[in-house]
Symmetry: C2
Subunit: 272 residues, 2 copies
């Protein structure tokens, strides 16, 4: 297939490189010229896209606002398949469905990334064995869905889950958005600046994704405000229970709270 | 040297195996017989300890309560070096200093572990390149400290930091104890049971150590109640700020909060 990837950041360039390796013709598009030259030099794309004509699919690997803009203003040929990789899906799906479109839309959210960004971190193996969420609704074209699944398999994803945009956003509030907020909040402890030599794996893991791009993540959070608020408030309430048990020096209560967590942990990880 | 390791769990058996590999004679001691037999079968110890006589050092690789009991009731020969691996150090140090002792005490806390426990998870490489905190006070015997540092280097630790028990407990409240509570609380979200296929690295990292042994960790938490309470309350307050910004749909405030975290993150990790 002939595919345009718009956005040569870590996700877009990784998609491009993986799809090109799988035998597709991949054209890159980017607002600035630098990443296109890097992608060409690293063999991640076959060339630069002038437009979308003659292409089977376009992947918009951009933050939410530019994705919404391109979905409205992009010059898409009739019937082309358009996907995006935004971390929130309801606002994208709603925008697409707000009026008739020449293109056929299917949303994606790769459960993959790194704590670094940009094409320098891109890697044709980034998606190998990872989860991909594909969002569908009653208007989704079956052939477009099938094409996106083929591309996803070619990109190396280990598991592809189809769900509604609303369900995606609710689950992602917990599995990704809250994790990044906790990590960002965790590292702000006044002690964090001075713990060199006192850290092990649990601290590293807890803070690994704390260095978020605040502009991108503010957009993602505001676009998924209520599910995320529910998760933050839920976590605050649960943390408050441990604090209360400690304040009361209530060993029995503290043990019970930890046991609840252990059982939830075991039940979660035994499902896999 | 001739060393007794009391407690053949993940930490004790890993210490035994690493020290034996480094050329020391290592005797194991354990309340139940099974782990001793495993340690013998896996070549982690030279034999079982009958008592501490003729030994240079004892490592108490036990939870806080049995460590405190052994420090009071153990039949230690005059001048022997005694160390422990408890995750809290102030209560241990205070107990040791509460009366004259025949032994010379130096505390340790290895910043290493796994999300599993027991001798089945033990590994002679567990400490390779990891951090070790060694606790000292004005009564610490310099020769005993030197001996413990030698053992630590032989066990493979990459960095050894000496500090007071009080400083240790304050820092560890953030770097280890809070991380385990957050992980335990995180996995209790009502959505966590149903996110298979929707998870990536950030969720895995956030929940990895959630399955804590509630009996052991209750003891560790209660023994470090005030520093830990401070960290939980601090994190709750910080998380509340993001929630408030989301509630108010205040993009500027949300961006500022995330930027603060990113700067703390960058400053923390650039120190390394």
């Amino acid at each position: 297939m002939k595919i345009v990837v718009y956005g040569m950041g870590i996700i877009g360039a990784s998609f491009a490189a993986a799809l090109r390796r799988a035998g597709h013709t991949v054209l890159g598009k980017n607002r600035s010229r630098g990443p296109i030259e890097t992608a060409l030099a690293r063999g991640m794309i076959d060339g630069e896209a002038e437009n979308y004509s003659g292409c089977d699919a376009v992947i918009l690997a951009l933050p939410p606002e530019p994705v919404l803009r391109e979905l409205d203003e992009g010059d898409f040929p009739e019937g082309i398949v358009v996907s995006d990789i935004c971390g929130v899906k309801k606002i994208v799906e709603e925008r697409v469905r707000s009026k008739p479109r020449r293109y056929r839309y299917v949303g994606m959210h790769p459960m993959a990334g790194k704590e670094t960004s940009g094409i320098a971190s891109a890697d044709a193996d980034l998606f190998c064995g990872k989860n991909l969420v594909v969002t569908v609704c009653k208007e989704t074209d079956p052939a477009a869905l099938s094409l996106v699944k083929t591309l996803a398999a070619d990109a190396g994803f280990g598991r592809i889950v189809c769900t509604s945009a609303e369900e995606h956003d609710k689950k992602i509030a917990l599995t990704s958005q809250l994790a990044h907020i906790v990590s960002n909040a965790y590292i702000k402890s006044s002690f964090a600046a001075d713990v060199s030599g006192f850290t092990g794996g649990s601290f590293q893991d807890m803070t690994r994704v704390g260095g978020v791009d605040e502009t991108l993540w503010s957009s993602l959070y505001l676009a998924n405000r209520l599910p995320l608020l529910g998760e933050i408030e839920g976590l605050i309430a649960r943390l408050g229970e441990y604090a209360e048990a400690l304040r009361a020096q209530d060993r029995e209560r503290l043990t019970a709270l930890l046991r609840e967590g252990r059982l939830a942990y075991e039940s979660h990880f035994s499902e896999k």
